[in-house]
Symmetry: C2
């Protein structure tokens, strides 16, 4: 048997032994995806910069399609379409505060990935786990296509297609397809497909559960099958545009405003205009898009026939079609915003689209400014039950229940922390760079001096599809 197949078996066993309590078997998911999605893209890439401590170690793994930056160790794993951006890892000497406790870091944080099969997995940001502030680990874990692992240490778990785990420490869980979990820490839980679960322990909890019929229309994924639905029909035709993206190490020079970074590993098509202080991350897809000052297109987002006003954020995996975002609009992970020329979507200033929201229009819709938006919206009438004014929400007291959404706890804290997170994202991405102040620089400005390095697997023999053992460290 070839080494690649042996590696898959090893991973399957390691994950299954952790999920036996939940009665979940990853075998058929992994085997189908390995067969269905493997090949096509054989290039991986790592970035080298003086702004990010580097230590990359790859061992007995397949990395095709991956992008690495920073410190990362991958052993006995298959990474298929990953974006691993280590530019927000904690640094040696930095003091990490959890409540009253101040923990100085012994060394630069490192991402470690072991015995895992990660298809479209992003591992951006840093570990928020008090157990290991210096190590962001992903162990014995399987993630399906278009899944996002974001700042979430995870072990012995399964993340379904278009699933997202965000800023959460996860042990032995099954995250169903299109479920979004941001919950501090979870253990031995199975989250149904289409669950949106956000929690600030001790303060508030947000839950939304998609209706099964709606979910099945957009995304379904049965054991032993390939995933299907509107999301797959939307995304798959673009896969060709991404295949081979990492073949060249040449720095791109796409026209853009001052202080902007447009990744050469993003797809830019049609009439696309990029203003100042804009971050266009690798693997984002832009077609006839206008990105105004300070806006950002994060990894694996699609912006097509759309306008992003100043300081708008298209988070990882967001799809934005025939849509105008006014100013400082936040579009969360994997949200699907689809207008048409006849039924365009406009989203008002300071709106926050919750992660995994579906807006798929049959008539023109204008979302008023300052709204929180969730669920499934097809017409203007749907805004009544699935949006709420953020100030009104913050000012309210007690729990809120609207349709399939349920909010418990401190609404003021929820709105404040959401707004703070959006501000932090804009700041870190360099949206507010003044043009001269070093302190206001962010990713958009610091990416400039990145150099790219391309790696490929063995092309034949026992080791076909695997990479040699690679170790890359700073000079000296």
């Amino acid at each position: 048997m070839k080494l690649f197949s042996l590696l898959l078996e090893r991973i399957i066993d390691r994950v299954n032994v952790n999920l036996r309590g939940l009665g979940f078997d990853v075998r058929a998911y992994v085997r189908v995806m390995a067969e269905y999605r493997y090949g096509g893209c054989s290039f991986a890439c790592y970035g080298l910069s003086t702004y990010h401590p580097i230590h990359l170690q790859f061992d007995n793994s397949s990395l095709s399609g991956s992008y690495f930056l920073g410190r990362c160790k991958v052993r006995h794993s298959v990474l298929m379409r990953s974006d691993i951006r280590g530019d927000e890892l904690k640094k040696k000497g930095q003091v990490w505060e959890i409540g009253d406790i101040r923990i100085p870091l012994y060394h630069d944080e490192i991402i470690t990935i072991r015995n895992s099969f990660l298809d479209s997995t992003l591992v951006h940001s840093n570990s928020h786990s008090p157990e290991s502030p210096e190590e962001f680990h992903i162990r014995n874990t399987v993630a399906m296509p278009y899944a996002n692992i974001h700042g979430a240490p995870i072990e012995g778990s399964f993340v379904g297609t278009f699933g997202t785990v965000d800023l959460t420490t996860i042990h032995n869980c099954v995250i169903g397809h299109f479920a979004y979990i941001q919950a501090g820490e979870v253990r031995h839980e199975a989250f149904a497909p289409g669950t949106i679960f956000m929690r600030s322990p001790g303060s508030w909890e947000f839950r939304y559960q998609y209706d099964t019929a709606v979910l099945d229309h957009y995304i379904r994924h049965e054991e032993g099958e390939a995933p299907e639905g509107v999301f797959i029909d939307f995304a798959e035709p673009y896969e060709d545009a991404f295949a081979g993206l990492f073949a060249s190490a040449r720095q791109g020079v796409y026209p853009a405003g001052t202080g902007s970074f447009v990744s050469r590993y993003a797809v830019k098509r049609g009439d696309t205009t990029i203003g100042d202080n804009v971050l266009v991350a690798q693997r984002s897809y832009l077609e006839n898009a206008i990105l105004s000052r300070g806006s950002n297109a994060q990894e694996k987002c699609y912006i097509i026939d759309s306008v992003l006003g100043p300081c708008c954020v298209a988070a990882h995996g967001a799809k934005i079609v025939a849509t105008t975002l006014e100013e400082k609009v936040f579009v969360g992970f994997n949200s699907f915003l689809r207008g048409t020329p006849e039924a365009p979507l406009t989203v008002g200033t300071r709106c926050a689209i919750m992660p995994h929201t579906i807006i798929d229009l049959t008539e023109p819709v204008h979302i008023p400014e300052n709204r929180l938006v969730w669920g499934i919206i097809r017409t203007a009438a749907d805004l009544e039950t699935q949006t709420i004014d953020l100030d009104e929400l913050a000012a309210g007291s007690g729990d809120v229940r609207m349709g399939r959404m349920e909010f418990r706890g401190d609404t003021g804290d929820f709105v404040r922390s959401f707004r703070e997170r959006i501000e932090r994202i804009l700041l870190e991405n360099g949206a507010y760079w003044t043009g001269h102040d070093e302190a206001s620089k962010g990713h958009a400005q610091n990416m400039k001096y990145l150099t790219f390095n391309i790696i490929q697997p063995y092309a034949d023999g026992e080791a076909e599809g695997l990479y040699p053992t690679i170790d890359i460290r700073p000079i000296g």
Copy 2:
């Protein structure tokens, strides 16, 4: 001071301390070349294949423009336009014979390069030094533009522009520009520019010395200056075609016959046709070229408006313009064969053009078959004094002196060993592949499954121009 500049100082001191006996100072050569040639090309490449043991280690070095294959360790060195092909390194367990002594190898041979500044340096083949059969070392050495280090362990030495050291162990020597040395072993010697020196210790010796006026016309290189002359005027305009060649890792698919390998890192222009079992190595330049069955274009050769008949060899750095090579013609290292449409050159079957031969025509010339060719040839009349029938030479007894050429010793052994070497090159390069027999496969066939990996240096900061520490080993 930047780390790159500190590294140059370190190298200069290490080389100078070894060359103090010869009163030679490399400082001005290194400084001028580092300034003159650095930049432009920032990509290096390494090949990954199941046919070649791999172990690459790079430390405190600049590698831009390099190509690596096999096992190689580079420390504290600057490699600018190197081609390091480790596909003929000796393997563990292999028995190496020197006369009656049989030495089994403890481990796979490795190339080690330390404290060296190598501009256009090839380090192909393996060590023929009895001192270190498992290590092909290059230490404390400076090589200038278009110099070739070929199967030649070397330490404490300087190789001038367009100089070649071939299958020779070299200690503390100065090799002048356009000198060619193939001599078993040399120590503490200075070879004047334009010296052609071949020797089989105990059997024969070939010497040719270029006239200074001729040499200065073609190539001159004064301390503290950039090199000048016809060779530089010829080669420099093509440098742009090579810059950035390593930017992409995509495997090329240039149309070619069965069993042929055309490197994607070779330049192919105009109407170029490539037959079966042909090897076109990286950094070769083809323009309106016909390469017939079994012929090969080695690294840094130029074949322009020319035809190579079956099983012809254009060795490293050979330049072939407006020329027809009939069959099994060998063109040695750095030879310059330049016809014109009005004064074309034809070289007959089984001719052997000595390394560093200059044929620069003012009238049409046809070299009869089976000739050994050397020196400087401009007209048909020059053939009288600078070619000899190989069978006639082999059958002769005693020494031969023709013009500036002097041969001493066993002519039969010289001709036999030259012919054997040509056959071995053809065999190793796969010229004789039958299409089914594994044993007859050579480089042209085995290169097929090579995958390419692109590396770049830091783009800014203290480490600008240097690479991080890199270690690449087989799986496991």
